[in-house]
Subunit: 251 residues, 2 copies
């Protein structure tokens, strides 16, 4: 701890700092709003890779925020095949919808060991009453999630295997950059090829071949656990990636 620069310490101090940073990307929070978030009662839970955080059919009275690590949304169909619908990064609240909907229609799993903050629905409801502006900002995040689902649907349905994988990679790097975990060229990559296949609705073998294609085309290299982009424009072109749906501003 003592090794850290003072500014990092300030940020790291609050368990919900990644949430605050994320919300501030859209709208600077005032002191009262920030304090209201910091005062949220949370209970911290750690999960291991592969462990489910919330299951399809569950009906919780709290929401989960990913503090550290990576989670993902998925369903398994009767044939045993798994479809991954989204990756969740630090600062994300993947089940905010549970505030309004009956029960989970999909499962939330851990892609890597995660630190999860559980926040009671009631506390969120009180927060929204006290700071209506925060309700707006948080609901907006669920709309961005929906836009991401739509883009995935287009990718899975209508793009080539390599194009679909490229789109997933483009989106991931862009989101990682937005939370300060990538310089846009290289970043941590928490998914195995099996995970990537279940996200792109492809078999493991075909993912492997498509990744080789991307590597040999000098577009991107996916080492286990790390990803390096050689040709961002080429990758974007192949993926037909337009980041505006992520609502990150700029670009």
């Amino acid at each position: 701890m003592a090794l850290y620069h003072r500014e990092s310490l300030l940020v790291a101090d609050s368990p919900l700092s990644s949430l605050i940073r994320k919300l501030e990307r859209y709208h600077a929070l005032d002191a009262a709003e920030r304090r209201a978030i910091e005062r949220l009662p949370i209970s911290i839970k750690n999960t291991r890779r592969g462990q489910d955080i919330i299951r399809e059919g569950d009906n919780c009275d709290f929401v989960c925020m990913v503090m550290e690590g990576f989670a993902f949304r998925y369903s398994i169909v009767e044939s045993g095949k798994r479809q991954i619908m989204a990756f969740c990064l630090p600062g994300d609240i993947p089940d905010l919808q549970s505030m309004a909907l009956d029960k989970m229609d999909h499962t939330l799993g851990s892609l890597r060991a995660c630190t999860i903050a559980e926040i009671p629905h009631k506390a969120i409801r009180d927060l929204f009453e006290e700071q209506p502006r925060l309700a707006e900002v948080l609901w907006r995040e669920t709309l961005i999630d929906a836009a991401i689902f739509r883009k995935w649907l287009v990718s899975v349905g209508r793009r080539s295997a390599a194009g679909c994988i490229a789109h997933i990679i483009c989106e991931f790097v862009t989101r990682m950059k937005a939370i300060g975990r990538s310089d846009g060229v290289t970043c941590e990559f928490p998914m195995t090829q099996t995970d990537l296949g279940d996200a792109a609705a492809l078999s493991l073998v075909h993912v492997n071949r498509s990744l080789r294609e991307l590597r040999e085309g000098r577009l991107v290299t996916v080492f286990p656990n790390r990803l390096t982009i050689h040709d961002w424009e080429g990758l974007k072109r192949l993926a037909e990636f337009d980041p505006s749906y992520l609502q990150l501003g700029g670009e």
Copy 2:
């Protein structure tokens, strides 16, 4: 008009009646809430089949409600292939997200001739301020939309051609029943086989063969413009359809 029963007339009187009926499914509206909706300033627009209502990239200052007819969300990728992401039924507001997001990430088209009510963003914002409960109910609809996108992603990615088409049919009939336009056995079916293919990410030829399979299996018959279910349980089983994500209650 004179042919209609008085009750139908009452319902048909307000242009936003299909919206009111939809919202009441979840939460009975009081007189003030209903009046606030009825007072919304709207401008009515008619579209023909195939005509776009809002285009990808557009940035409007109003939202569209489908009063009559059927709309659909879609994108076209560079190869020329089209992916349909959702069908919109009377009472739906498919672009409510435009209140919070920058620009459309997909296009809204007319599946059949539509009557669209355009409602200014400002009027909706005022409505939300005056009747915060309505904001909650409307935002909830966007969460249901997101659940629908997730189910489609699973279908397109991981189900067989027949299973995916069956899921689309199950969902459509269930939603039609909820707005009083199906008895659960038969209903109007506004999509061509080409449309169905672009929704399920299948070719026209393969859709045709899969529909024959469904017909020969005595599950469902899709006439042009009309659909008849022979074996609801069998169809549900093939589609692995569980309607709870539509949040219609009951069942």
